[in-house]
Each structure stands twice: as structure tokens, then as C-alpha cells.
């Protein structure tokens, strides 16, 4: 059963078409990769799904409910969570607080409840802290909980973004270049983490990634974008040998030479 369906998604910035008529379906609990050369429209595609951009035309369905037109915070509430290509943490807040912000939509505390510090609210906060700590432990950052997010190493910041996204308890997790800037060891850990997450949280993962080794290893389905157009789609082994894909990445000479 598809959990996310995108139909004919187009985004135009003035005269520039960032994505053109892109359609795809994502199966529940699958790992899908969106790949393509720089400027292919991958991040624009993510931004449209998460409501940061409104598509010029096209439909996005999450579990058969239309979600385009929703504001980003409503998309998050609907069950889509994401990380960012250029890390966007809450730098001056502590690591645990970053994760707590991720749980925003699940906390019921209202204005008066907070003002009078009701027992219900205190209990909720305590449980939220425990859950946040659990998630930090899960991505391996538990001992840094009181550190400011900005002081973390690059790889740790990427993992913190994942923990924060998980805190929203999403159905679909979008990872925008999660392995960018990581060394091979970190990438290996990340691969394992993504696998574990999918299993334990019954998560559907969509990722944008340039590290082909990671993509081929992890994904069950790959969508290739080039100049805003979907040029190929399929299993990793099909994509690897697809002449159109090779052309997009290496130029037209490569196919003839190969």
C-alpha cells in the first residue's frame, strides 16, 4: 500500500522550472532514494512535500489525504518529518531541548496549564524528557544532552537532526543528504541507523543522497531526477545500469564509451 503519492508535481520559480511533472509512489515501510546531479530539483521536491514551498501544480497525498496547501507545521502534524541538507539545528539550545522541540505537536500543554504548572503538565514534561533522552541514546548522543547544539561535531549534528525528526513520531521521514560530510565510518553507522529506525519505528524513509554506495546499499527503490524531470525509477540494480542515468551523471560520452 502506498503511503505517499506524488502526482505531476511542478514548481516554477519565475521563468525557471525546478521540477516538472514529477510523479512517484512510496510504499509503506520502504526506503526510497531520490538521486540526481546538483540542481536536479531534489531539495525543491522535499520542500514541496514538507509545505515549505507550495507547488505550482500537482498533488501530494499522504495516506490518500491531500497535504499540499498545508502549512509546514500542519504537514509535520500530518506525519512527515525531515532533516535538512544544510543543518538547521536550534544552535543555542541544548541537545536535549532540540529533541524536545521535535515533540512539540505531541505535547498537550496549554497556556493555563503551563502557567499553573498543573501536575498533568509536569508529568507530561517529565515523560517527554525521558523519551527525548531515549532518542538521544538511540542515535548515540545521550552523553551530550546538556551541550549546546552548535558545539557538536558535524556528524553528531546530523544525528541530532535525525533524533529531532524522530521525536515528532513521523510516518514518513525525509532525510536530505544525511551522509554529506561524513567519513566512511560515520556513513556506515548511519546506514545501520537508518535500517534500525525503519524496523523499530515502522518508518517510511525517503532520502536524498549523493553517496552512491550508501544509496545502492540501503534503498529498495530509487527515483532519479535531472533538470527537474524524472528520468528513471526502479530497483538499485536497474538504476545502476540505466543508460539515461549514467548519461545524466557522467555526460553523454560516457554511455558510448562504455
Amino acid at each position: 500500500m502506498p503511503i505517499l503519492e506524488v502526482q505531476n508535481l511542478t514548481k516554477k520559480f519565475g521563468g525557471l522550472t525546478a521540477t516538472q511533472e514529477v510523479s512517484m509512489t512510496v510504499e509503506k515501510s520502504s526506503i526510497t532514494a531520490v538521486i540526481g546531479p546538483n540542481g536536479a530539483g531534489k531539495t525543491t521536491f522535499f520542500n514541496m512535500i514538507t509545505g515549505i514551498y507550495q507547488p505550482t501544480s500537482g498533488i501530494i497525498l499522504l495516506e490518500n489525504e491531500k497535504i499540499n496547501g498545508l502549512k509546514p507545521h500542519d504537514v509535520s502534524k500530518a506525519g512527515i518529518s525531515r532533516t535538512f541538507q544544510n543543518i538547521r539545528l536550534f544552535n543555542q539550545m541544548s541537545v536535549l531541548e532540540n529533541v524536545l522541540v521535535g515533540m512539540h505537536t505531541h505535547l498537550k500543554a496549554g497556556l493555563l496549564g503551563i502557567l499553573f504548572n498543573l501536575p498533568v503538565i509536569r508529568k507530561e514534561e517529565k515523560e517527554a524528557e525521558m523519551h527525548a533522552y531515549h532518542l538521544l541514546d538511540y542515535v548515540g548522543l545521550a552523553d551530550l544532552l546538556n551541550e549546546k547544539a552548535t558545539n557538536l561535531s558535524y556528524g553528531a549534528q546530523r544525528r541530532l537532526e535525525i533524533a529531532r525528526a524522530l521525536a515528532a513520531n513521523p510516518k514518513v521521514l525525509l532525510l536530505d543528504e544525511p551522509a554529506a560530510g561524513m567519513n566512511p565510518k560515520e556513513t556506515k553507522d548511519l546506514t545501520e541507523l537508518i535500517h534500525r529506525m525503519r524496523q523499530e519505528f515502522n518508518l517510511t524513509v525517503i532520502l536524498i543522497e549523493h553517496d552512491m554506495k550508501l544509496v545502492m546499499e540501503i534503498s529498495e527503490h530509487i527515483v532519479v531526477l535531472d533538470h527537474g524531470v524524472k528520468i528513471a525509477e526502479g530497483k538499485p540494480e536497474d538504476i545502476r545500469n540505466n543508460p539515461k542515468v549514467i548519461e545524466a551523471y557522467l555526460g553523454s560520452g560516457a554511455v558510448q564509451a562504455g
Binding site: R88, E129, L145
Partner: protein, 426 residues
């Protein structure tokens, strides 16, 4: 020397004894030397010392309460300067509450508001219009001025009206960001003042530039509140409420969402935080503090006119926040106290002293150079110095520290319980 300090640093008893001696000496000297501003200031700064001791929060609050409720009014009450001390303390309280309000907007939510005094004006006018004969100019029913007992309700009304204005301002203004937001709020602050200045025709609502005279003083159980020494206690209570409110919000879901919006709007949105509502809430709550104190201010002055709400006031409050430390509650309290006391006490005392010197012919200082006239220069200098050398302020904002050991223990427990359940399931 270092060793002694190290020992002292962690010794609660030593802290207690030192603090007690300090408070004792300063309050005694204030008691004996009524006109000594230094003694008054030193007694006030005992609260700062208290902040840095290692006692529990409850003890700190208790000691602060004793100093502020009993010691300060009592020791100062035996001389001519009593009312002027209480006047200063009352104004300090009013400014602290406003600075705490602005701190929510600027420090926590990161929205630079340069017209903050407008909400103070809204609160002040709300009370003074109805608590003077002014309202009879345009209200077809009811008798005005309202009695002094209505003051207590007006604190709540002032709070709500200011919050409403905060939201009304926020709706159009929050479309813009950063520098533009600062300029738009600056314009709004001026607009409010000019409206109050001109709202005497066609219908006379605010009495224009003439201001509203003879505002009814608050009254409780038949006692009229006329002197700063009485307002001092009203301000103290409201201040306590505001500090508790800010503290509650700061470490809650709402406080976190403010900070998240400040740190990164796009990420905050993607984590499910509604931008507009969060910002509006910051504006409304910040404004409400100001509105409450506006009501108190109007009642205390018994006279309100637009000149009390100029741009300089907005800047003064902003300087308090920046000086104290943006986003830091203790910092902002300190910043507001320092600025207000500097403004009202230190500069005027310095001027008096220089005047005396020039009267006795020792030195001669032209009138234009008297310290009281240099307020803006000094504010500017403080702002520049802090921006350059200590942008985080006197007491920088700190994140809440979570109890790592406790969380670790609970987490292990939860994991082992989960495993048990899994094993049973198998």
C-alpha cells in the same frame, strides 16, 4: 588566596554568614545614615550576591522576600529620603517587569521590537481615562471617575487590553522579518503616541497633549494609595507574578517554541511549530506585562500625558535587556535595575554633588555638561560597549540543565522493562 577562595566557593555556611553580615551592615548603615544613597544601593545589591550563592531556589526567594518586603522599607523609613527611595524602588520594579516583557519578544522569540513602550502607554491610558473625569467626555452612561477600588480590576483589564494590542500589532507586523520588523515596530510605537497626543478631537478621549490629570489613586479597604512607599508593595506583588510567569513559560513547550523560532524559523516550522501563532503569543504576553505596569504607573503618577511614552523609553527598555543579557531572566532583572538606578539615582546624585562643588566654588561645570543631561550619551556608550565586548550581557542566558544521571537511570529501567515484555511475548 586561590585555595581560600576555592574553599569558600563551595561552603554554604560561609556564604550564609557572609551574606548575613553584608545585609546586616548595609541595612544598619542605611538605617543610621538615611541620606546615604550608597547604603541604599549596597543593600539592594545584596540581592545580586544572593543570586550567586549556592542555596536552593526556595531559600533564595525567602531571603529576597525578607529583604524586599521588610528590611528595605523598614531601614529606609526613618528619614526624609524615604519616599524618594521607595519611588526609585517602585520605578525599578516597573522597569523590570517591562524589561521582562520585552525580553520575551526580543530575547526569547528573537523579534526586535523598538516600539515596546506603546503597550505601557496603552495600559496607562486604559486606567487613567476611566479613573478620571476624562471618560465622561465620550461615555454616554456611567459616572466617572471610577472609584479607587476599580484599580485592582484594571490591572487585569490593562493586561488584557495590552495583550490585545500586541496581537493587533503582531498580525500585520509579523509578515516582515529582521531589520524591517524593527522599523515597523518603531513606527507603531510612534503612531500610538501620536494617536494619544491627537485623540482630543473630534471626540475627546485622551485629552491630547494636555494629558489626563487627577487620576484616582487605588483604594483598598478604605485606604488610599498615595505614596511611593505604598505603590512599592503593589509593584512588588505584580513583579513577583511576572517573574513566576516568565519562569514557567521559559522552560515549557511554549518557551522552547519561542527559542526555536528565534534560532531557525524553517526548522521550527518543520517541527510542527506554527510560526504566526507562536510569535503572536510572544507579543501578547510581553505586552501584557507592560500593560499591567502601565496601569500602576498611571495610578502612581496620577497624571498621564504622551511625553512619558517617547521613543527614548522604548530604547531604554531595550538597553536594559541587552545590558542584562538577551533571553536571560536574572540578567534582565539586573539590567533593568542597573539602568533605572543609574538613571534616577546615580546620575542625579552626581549632578547634585557637582552642583554643590560648583556652588562652593571648587570647580565650575557648565549646566549643559551635568551628568543628568548625559543620559542618552551614557546609554549609547553602554550599548556600544556591550555589543562589542560582551554581547551576551551581564548574566548570559543559560539553558536548563537536565539531570543526566536521573534520565540515564530511567532510560535503563525502561529498556530493561521493554525487554522483559518482549521475552514474555516470545
Amino acid at each position: 588566596m586561590k585555595k581560600i577562595w576555592k574553599k569558600y566557593e563551595h561552603n554554604k555556611l560561609a556564604h550564609g554568614i557572609f551574606l548575613l553580615i553584608y545585609i546586616g551592615v548595609t541595612s544598619l548603615s542605611l538605617y543610621l545614615a538615611q541620606k546615604s544613597v550608597t547604603a541604599f544601593l549596597l543593600l539592594l545589591s545584596s540581592l545580586l550576591l544572593l543570586y550567586y550563592t549556592k542555596f536552593t531556589n526556595l531559600t533564595k526567594w525567602l531571603v529576597a522576600g525578607i529583604v524586599l518586603v521588610f528590611l528595605l522599607p523598614f531601614t529606609a523609613s526613618h528619614g526624609d529620603a524615604y519616599q524618594s527611595y521607595m519611588e526609585v524602588s517602585t520605578l525599578v520594579g516597573i522597569y523590570i517587569a517591562m524589561a521582562l516583557g520585552l525580553n520575551i519578544v526580543v530575547g526569547m522569540a528573537g523579534l526586535l521590537d523598538l516600539g515596546f513602550v506603546a503597550f505601557f502607554a496603552v495600559g496607562a491610558y486604559t486606567y487613567s481615562i476611566f479613573a478620571s473625569s476624562q471618560a465622561s467626555h465620550f461615555m454616554p452612561f456611567g459616572t466617572f471617575p471610577l472609584s479607587g477600588e476599580s484599580f485592582w480590576i484594571f490591572i487585569v483589564i490593562g493586561c488584557l487590553v495590552a495583550a490585545l494590542f500586541g496581537i493587533l500589532l503582531g498580525i500585520p507586523v509579523l509578515r516582515v522579518k529582521g531589520d524591517y520588523l524593527a522599523i515597523v515596530t518603531l513606527g507603531f510605537g510612534e503612531i500610538i503616541r501620536i494617536i494619544f497626543n491627537n485623540l482630543d478631537r473630534p471626540v475627546n478621549i485622551t485629552n491630547g497633549a494636555m494629558g489626563i490629570p487627577s487620576v484616582t489613586p487605588p483604594r483598598l479597604f478604605g485606604i488610599d494609595f498615595l505614596y511611593p512607599s505604598q505603590f512599592y508593595f503593589i509593584v512588588l506583588v505584580i513583579l513577583l507574578i511576572t517573574i513566576f510567569t516568565v519562569r514557567r513559560f521559559e522552560h515549557s513547550k511554549i518557551g522552547r517554541s519561542w527559542k526555536a523560532v528565534r534560532e531557525n524559523e524553517i526548522a521550527a516550522q518543520s517541527m510542527g511549530i506554527p510560526l504566526v501563532r507562536t510569535k503572536l503569543l510572544a507579543f501578547a504576553i510581553g505586552a501584557s506585562f507592560s500593560g499591567m505596569m502601565g496601569v500602576v504607573f498611571a495610578a502612581k503618577q496620577a497624571f498621564v500625558d504622551p511625553t512619558s511614552f517617547t521613543l527614548l523609553e522604548s530604547f531604554t527598555i531595550l538597553v536594559m535587556v541587552v545590558l542584562g543579557g538577551m533571553g536571560s531572566v536574572p540578567g534582565v532583572i539586573l539590567g533593568a535595575s542597573v539602568m533605572t538606578i543609574l538613571n534616577l539615582q546615580v546620575l542625579s546624585e552626581l549632578t547634585n554633588w557637582l552642583n554643590q562643588l560648583s556652588l562652593s566654588g571648587i570647580i565650575s561645570i557648565p549646566y549643559a555638561l551635568s551628568p543628568a543631561k548625559m543620559q542618552r550619551l551614557i546609554f549609547g556608550a553602554i550599548l556600544i560597549t556591550f555589543a562589542l565586548y560582551r554581547p551576551q550581557g551581564l548574566i548570559p542566558a543559560k539553558n536548563r540543565r537536565f539531570d543526566e544521571k536521573e534520565l540515564q537511570r530511567l532510560n535503563r529501567k525502561a529498556i530493561s522493562e521493554n525487554k522483559k515484555i518482549e521475552q514474555k511475548g516470545v
